[in-house]
Symmetry: C2
Subunit: 501 residues, 2 copies
């Protein structure tokens, strides 16, 4: 087989594998959004079977020969060409996957499908004991996974590398240390200051059906393509990309907590815009796929915070908001409203955290999941350890486990090493937003005019369309002029929250 | 491998195959109910890929050896044992599937996924030309399929046998001839009689959201298990069984056509009760699966007509109906209402046909699809042929193709040889209902008391729980004392519609 044929065959294998994996995405979405409870056992069997088949494809021994043939040819001489990028990333994925035993892949799919249900049940009943054995099981499987795929320094490296290629526990610890040094004093200074009691406005009633109407209208205005996607109600907000032309966002609204539902929408729409902006011609190959979870989170955090909390955004949307929620907002000014939604203070729930304390929630999870993975902490000890860290860093303690260690579903889905990508996302987002503004002029002005195209176009040009053409560090460097660095985030937070309050 | 091991391996293969096929059912349901339009191309790729994988399993060469090993053993000596039944039916399925070329299976999946969309589009725009090339393509694929699997007399036999094992075109033609001889005079006699103009009550407004509420309440009262199923809105009513604990019904309601939506619900719930009544312990093997499409349709038609149009049923539900739709029904009596919903007269749409003329709609389709399959009729000639037969048998002509040859989606999904199973369903349903009544006493009385358990329990005992333990003819014979025979249907229709009008 000549290199051209080998490359064509590689693309075919990669596309088939992606299409098959996308069937799992449909099952997963359906389980979260539609499936009746009685279907849970059967769904676990479906997922385990498909996950095994996907794994078979990922470890198809033909990859090795085909990759070797193309790697040795001139097809990969330009490292930015689709051929070179796809071969580089397919090699990386193949080398990882073939180290994963098929049984482990199937078992993980089976256990996480059931564990997600147990987590939901534990949360509903506020009974952590229902979930603890499943949590231990999931971390045991994660250890098996790390040992199977291998790592340089610590098992956590192996898991992290799956979400953020090239990132290590050491680099991440340094980044968190830098952030912590500057963030905790900022958090403390804000804790000391008298701030208006939050929530008095937001605890008013915002009828759910109207929240949904308003939020989906905003999403369409931001550029979410409803011909190629949909919105639903789920247990937990998430975005899933089934394939080109089918990107779905699930949300949850709360009648007396407008911000929780709304900023989750902004977050998930940020993810969706990235997915909808990938090049469909390259679907199913790395150059048509998102570069990393951290970069994906940068898009969600950027739209959630740097757009959704901005003055311009609300100059445009507040009049509409006030007319939709006349009873709740008729006596509230734009400035009061912005003050309330941007109020900073320690909170129990990550998804309700303000921008400043958000990364503290992540630090806590980063610390806990490393301990759980290392076996230094057992599932049964998690509630205590959780409470202790929240007390130490934020000065508060959750009333119950439902709002404590059961608040996030990530671990139940087997996502370990995922949380830090939220903070990486915040770091990248601040850098990207600054760079976009340098390039296209004051974004706040365009937001105030209801025009989100300049920002979206810049992100499309510098982030979306590249897929995995470059590694994340290089994408950030090329787009912003600097390597990933928390300084822009600190500066942005200090500028907006540190003074004049 | 000894026979016990071989049988265990057979069960494992069969279960895996069924679980994989059930993933296709999720994709199919999602396409009908949820998928955004932009996802259609990708969905076709997903379906084609999975259909190919299912076919690979169905034709796994290991089946042949394993089946031979068990067939030669004492495990199958009791023909009613799960072992004997599963081996008999797996052999039948295997011998059919291995004759189907993989390319044909994939191509059919791909074409029908796209054709369904084209059909919906053609229907929406009332432009049959959009669909004609796809119809021809589908019948060409059906000819290829018939030639691949083989047949005794005519290609149509090969397709029919897939839905109704053991049925032949000859037997079916004889059955239709018998029915036609007795039914057409009945239709004509009713056509001649002055009947109250229908629709004046039913053309009043029945708000859709309340129709949905009422209908789903009725479904729950009949015994549909909402922990193990769900209701949705779709383009076309259908029931799909994803697996044990997950049976879904999609419906469509019309603000000025209460009966259309409501009797579709009764129909689909009849299907769902059968699926929910199968033995979950045997899921994934023939003895845990429905015996035939005709028997499945007997359940839908039984609940739709013999329950849903009965006096007792409405004695129980009419007061509730009238309170839900007070404006439309405040001046309508139970007797008037029943007269209107049971009005007989020729209609353009099959799904709106009364019980008496319904089978005439099927005869027309039976005639047309045999001609299309034989190549005696081309897609472009279908609208004319359709109009001609409706004029000949029912004395009416559709105004447009949307309500003519585009009214049903079956052909677009590749379901050829499927329509006759509706009439078989009517034939079986009349026999089963009579037998149930002989066994448990006057059903109308229990319906009037809102108690549907006696009927459901009898059906569970004599139909649901058997799965494929017996062939359809034997199930009917054992349950009713007679072989399949249209006399009970004719008698039931004559008794209820032929006199005193």
């Amino acid at each position: 087989m000549n290199p051209d044929q080998a490359y064509a065959e590689l693309v075919r294998l990669s596309r088939d594998e992606t299409v098959l994996a996308s069937c799992l995405d449909v099952l997963d979405w359906d389980e979260e959004v539609c499936m009746p409870r009685g279907g849970v056992e059967h769904r676990a069997q479906q997922m385990a079977l498909l996950a095994g088949l996907v794994h078979d494809r990922q470890t198809d021994p033909r990859y090795d020969d085909l990759l070797s043939t193309v790697e040795a040819s001139s097809l990969v001489s330009d490292p930015e060409s689709p051929q070179a990028v796809n071969v580089r990333e397919l090699r990386r994925g193949f080398d990882r996957e073939r180290r994963m035993p098929r049984k482990l892949v199937e078992e993980s799919a089976r256990v996480t499908a059931l564990a997600s249900q147990k987590w939901a049940e534990a949360r509903k009943r506020d009974d952590v004991k229902i979930f603890v054995p499943w949590l231990d099981r999931i971390f045991a499987l994660a250890r098996e996974e790390a040992d199977a795929v291998g790592y340089a320094e610590t098992r956590y490296d192996a898991l992290l590398d799956d979400y953020e290629p090239g990132m290590t526990t050491d680099r991440l610890s340094a980044l968190f240390a830098h952030l912590q040094a500057q963030l905790l004093p900022l958090v403390d200074s804000l804790r000391g200051e008298p701030t208006p009691a939050p929530g008095h406005v937001l605890a008013r009633e915002f009828p759910i059906d109207r929240q949904r109407l308003f939020a989906e209208g905003v999403a369409a205005a931001l550029g979410f393509d409803l011909e190629c996607g949909r919105f639903d109600i789920g247990q937990h907000p998430f975005c899933t990309s089934i394939g080109p032309g089918d990107v779905r966002v699930a949300l949850r609204y709360y009648p007396r907590n407008f911000t929780r539902g709304f900023f989750a929408l902004m977050h998930e729409v940020g993810h969706a815009l990235y997915d909808q902006g990938l090049d469909p011609a390259h679907y199913g190959t790395p150059i048509g796929e998102a570069a990393s979870l951290g970069l994906h989170e940068s898009q969600s955090r950027l739209w959630e915070n740097l757009v959704g909390r901005s003055h311009g955004f609300w100059r445009h949307f507040f009049p509409q908001l006030r007319s939709v929620f006349h009873e709740a907002l008729h006596d509230v000014s734009l400035e009061t409203f912005r003050g309330v939604i941007n109020h900073v203070g320690p909170s129990i729930l990550r998804v309700q955290a303000d921008e400043v304390t958000y990364d503290v929630h992540i630090m806590i999870r980063f610390e806990l999941e490393r301990a759980l993975l290392a076996g230094d902490l057992r599932g049964a000890e998690l509630p205590g350890a959780w409470a202790e860290l929240y007390q130490r860093y934020l000065g508060i303690t959750p009333d119950n486990d439902r709002n404590g260690c059961l608040q996030d579903g990530h671990w139940s889905e087997g996502l370990i090493g995922y949380f830090p990508t939220y903070t990486l996302g915040n770091v990248y987002a601040a850098q990207l937003f600054d760079a976009a503004e340098r390039a296209v002029g004051p974004l706040d002005e365009s937001f105030a005019a209801g025009d989100f195209r300049p920002l979206r176009a810049w992100l499309g040009e510098h982030v979306y369309r590249h897929g995995q053409r470059y590694r994340v560090d290089a994408i950030i460097k090329r787009a912003t002029g600097s390597a990933p660095d928390p300084s822009a985030l600190i500066a942005s937070l200090s500028r907006r929250y540190g003074s004049a309050r």
